[in-house]
């Protein structure tokens, strides 16, 4: 499609064909096959997995590179911008539902499974005949004490600090956004940089906490239902913080290169939305996993 078409609001913009989606498919396929081989303990499995992941990274550079180049050239009209926004919003909604599955597991386990195993309600006979020695409590690793003795991480130490860090990062990214809209470049780069630093600090503390849990508290992924829900929720959240931090870093470089204008900076906003989403998930985690 020619550039001339994009400036006429009455004519639709259709992007030209791209080789990146099929490369993305092959990369994803390689990654998934590699992952399946790896968990099945096939000798070459992890090489396939790493090759797939490397191909995914290569694809992301290539595909986003194309989109950025087209965006900078001004190909994308208002309608394309709205499509991108909708895409990001619904993607974040899908992520919310992904976390909902694990929160659902946590709530169901705490509210129903564990009390039933302890003999409450409909669980009376099951308790009597199968798990008679078990008294329900939370945290728990179940009637067979899977994973052995463990202690939990208190809410008001590192987790609370991490809550403050993420909340602050939500504020700094908003200040950066206002600076971008006001055209204050120095302030934008500073506060976006601070946001990236806070993201990294969060991850550092999270890693410290995991190390502490594994080596001193005996709390692992295998510590029954408590360990399962704890590490699944905080782990997937940590993965999302990692991705969000990388995205913020990329956006920092794009800001430094001057890719964004005061009123045309969807890339920045998309990453900011994602960061707020990660922030909100953490608040849920802090409340339901650590405090309650």
């Amino acid at each position: 499609m020619g550039q001339t078409e994009t400036h006429d609001p009455n004519i639709y913009y259709v992007p030209h064909a791209s080789r990146w989606p099929i490369i993305a498919t092959l990369a994803l396929f390689t990654t998934m096959i590699g992952a399946a081989l790896t968990v099945n303990k096939v000798a070459v499995g992890h090489y396939v997995l790493y090759a797939g992941l490397a191909a995914l990274v290569f694809m992301l550079f290539g595909w986003f590179g194309d989109v950025i180049r087209e965006s900078v050239k001004g190909f994308y009209n208002r309608q394309v911008d709205v499509s991108f926004r909708m895409g990001m919003i619904w993607f974040i909604f899908s992520e919310v539902m992904f976390f909902a599955a694990f929160f659902g597991a946590l709530f169901y386990a705490r509210m129903f499974v564990v009390p039933w195993l302890g003999g409450e309600g409909d669980g009376a006979l099951t308790h009597e005949f199968i798990w008679s020695g078990y008294s329900s409590a939370w945290p728990t690793n179940g009637p067979l004490k899977v994973g052995g003795m463990f202690e939990t991480i208190g809410a008001w130490g590192l987790p609370f600090l991490n809550t403050l860090i993420l909340l602050t990062s939500g504020i700094t990214v908003t200040i950066a956004h206002h600076a971008l809209r006001a055209g204050e470049r120095g302030k934008l780069l500073t506060f976006l940089g601070v946001t990236v630093a806070l993201g990294m600090l969060f991850l550092y503390f999270q890693a410290t906490e995991y190390y502490h849990a594994y080596h001193e508290l005996g709390l692992t992924l295998g510590s029954g239902i408590y360990g399962s829900t704890f590490f699944m929720l905080t782990g997937f959240h940590g993965l999302h913080v990692t991705l969000g931090t990388i995205m913020l870093l990329v956006i920092w470089f794009r800001c430094a290169k001057g890719h964004f204008s005061r009123d045309h900076h969807f890339g920045f906003e998309a990453v900011a939305w994602y960061w707020h989403f990660v922030d909100v998930v953490w608040l849920g985690l802090f409340l339901f996993v650590y405090v309650l």
Binding site: A17, I22, A36, S94, D122, G142, S228
Partner: protein, 545 residues
């Protein structure tokens, strides 16, 4: 037409040249739609082949053809292939082809992501089928998953190497579905031509808007559920094991929170298709357009609060059983509205019975039978008797085969002349319809009797008391399977045979809607400028009047 957008396109379309450019790098909604539909047809025959193996084994009591383990792999894979490989991609293919043309757009909102959504599918199914194919063709490994498509632990976790492949394949399908659904929502909400208000959209577009929302809401939940299976099997978690304080029933709850909306993902677009076809061949506007839209939305909402009716016998508190029973029965209300409105659309219409209409009519009748057996299953004390019997198998095949698949066939016959620019062979189409409609009832109706008499599902052998109806069912199954080869021939013939009659732009005398204002076949980019929309171009008229 007040504004014929098609005339100035025909002479210079932008079709890319060469196989790689056109198909592997595809960004065109029609090309991607075609690929989805072809993929779906291939999967339909593959899943059908597995069904033939199942019916072959069940033709007589005792074990004749295959080992029980392989039988279980067949039932599991038949379901996964048909649900995720045949029905869902068929509807996505129809959405790709039709939605941009129906709302006056040039293409989907995010054409490159559209390509990615499609191409993931063949690779996802390669991943899914790999363990089974290795076993069948090279006798390597233990074959495919055999614990049923619902993947219930602990049984599903006791599978061999195939478990991980199944889980990662499900992840890939999920990624594909979510991206496809995001694209459809963005297209409908953002790419409509000026004047195409939400309540002027064809019902097919409405049904897909709501379906896409369901997909984005529940596919991630399935991803979460299978991820927990993965960690339970390989990384020491105990989500679904009571030993560590988890519960296998918890998987069922999470799975069916996905699973029940998933059922409607496979039927709401069918409602949309039938709501387009019946007005056309009744030569009357759709009766109760707004009620149809609200009914679809209500069904979608209810789909989130009925999931546990799939697990009444698992041991739930009485309050739960009652809640899910009543909530499930509520679905009959909006569904009843839909059936009522289809019937009243036909009332005093000038009806003709071309193949799409025949399939649509069969849909209304046979889907209703599936709906009624669903109501029976919704009643908790009755379900205690019917659960996991062939009655359930009969129920969901009535809604999925004579429901979803018949609607896909109706849609293909309805829009094929628009796609190819030629009329398909109507005589063969009618033969295909009658052979399908008769054989499918011979196939599935006796399964109601078998189920009520107590024959359990998912077994390769059975009591001799069930022998007669199983033989009838199998004969119907083989006839239905063979009949579908005719379908493939008719589609092939219509897309290749240049001696067939040319289709007009409107194709069907009573057809209304933007897609019929384009040429047959339509230009490569459907609309390059927004069409000017008048009431007479709307599929169902202007309901605001």
């Amino acid at each position: 037409m007040a504004h014929d957008a098609s005339t100035h396109h025909d002479d210079h379309d932008h079709k890319p040249h060469g196989f790689v450019n056109r198909w592997l790098y595809a960004t065109n909604h029609k090309d991607i739609g075609t690929m989805y539909l072809v993929f779906s047809l291939v999967m339909f025959f593959l899943g059908g082949l597995m069904a033939m193996v199942i019916r072959g084994e069940l033709m007589f009591p005792g074990l004749q053809l295959i080992e029980p383990e392989f039988f279980n792999q067949m039932t599991t894979m038949h379901a996964l292939v048909m649900i995720f490989g045949a029905v869902m991609p068929a509807f996505v293919g129809l959405a790709n082809w039709m939605i941009p043309m129906m709302v006056g757009a040039p293409d989907m909102a995010l054409p490159r992501m559209n390509n990615w959504s499609f191409w993931i599918m063949p690779f996802a199914f390669t991943t899914l089928l790999l363990p089974l194919a290795l076993k069948v063709f090279f006798d390597i490994g233990g074959g495919g998953p055999a614990g049923g498509w619902t993947l219930y632990p602990p049984l599903s976790l006791q599978g061999g190497d195939s478990v991980a492949f199944t889980i990662f394949a499900v992840h890939m399908m999920g990624i594909s579905s979510i991206m496809g659904a995001i694209n459809i929502i963005a297209t409908i909400l953002n790419m409509r031509a000026p004047g195409m208000d939400l309540l002027k959209m064809p019902v097919f577009v409405w049904s897909w808007l709501i379906t896409a929302f369901l997909l984005i809401a529940v596919m991630p939940v399935l991803a979460g559920a299978v991820t927990m299976l993965l960690t339970d099997k390989f990384f020491g978690t105990t989500f679904f094991s009571a030993t560590g304080g988890g519960d296998p029933v918890m998987f069922q709850h999470i799975f069916w929170f996905f699973g029940h909306p998933e059922v409607y993902i496979m039927i709401l677009p069918a409602f949309g298709i039938v709501s387009e076809i019946i007005p056309t061949f009744s030569r009357k506007p759709l009766f109760g357009y707004k009620a149809m839209v609200y009914a679809i939305a209500s069904i979608a909402f209810l789909s989130f609060i009925v999931w546990a009716h799939h697990m009444f016998t698992v041991g739930m508190p009485l309050g739960g059983e009652l809640f899910f029973m009543y909530a499930t029965m509520l679905i009959a209300v909006p569904t009843g509205i839909k059936v009522f409105n289809w019937v009243f659309t036909m009332w005093k219409g000038s009806m003709t019975f071309e193949t799409p209409m025949l399939f649509a009519l069969a849909f209304v009748i046979l889907f209703s039978i599936g709906g009624f057996s669903g109501l029976m299953l919704a009643i908790v004390p009755a379900d205690f008797q019917y659960h996991d019997t062939y009655f359930v198998v009969a129920h969901f095949h009535y809604v999925l085969v004579t429901g979803a698949i018949f609607s896909v066939m109706a849609a293909v016959y309805y829009w094929l002349p628009k796609w190819t620019g030629r009329m398909y062979n109507e005589r063969l189409g009618k033969i295909h319809f009658w052979a399908s409609a008769i054989s499918v009832n011979v196939l599935f109706f006796p399964q109601h009797f078998l189920g009520l008499a107590g024959m359990p599902r998912r077994i390769p052998d059975y009591n001799v008391a069930f022998a007669d109806w199983n033989l009838v069912s199998s004969l119907g199954g083989f006839a239905f399977g063979l009949t579908q080869l005719l379908f493939a021939y008719i589609v092939w013939d219509c897309s290749r045979n240049k001696s067939l009659a040319k289709a007009t732009d409107q194709v069907w005398e009573g057809a209304h809607g933007l897609e019929w204002t384009l040429s047959s076949p339509p230009p490569y980019h459907s609309f390059t400028t927004p069409p000017v929309i008048t009431d007479s171009m709307l599929a169902h008229g202007n309901v605001a009047h």
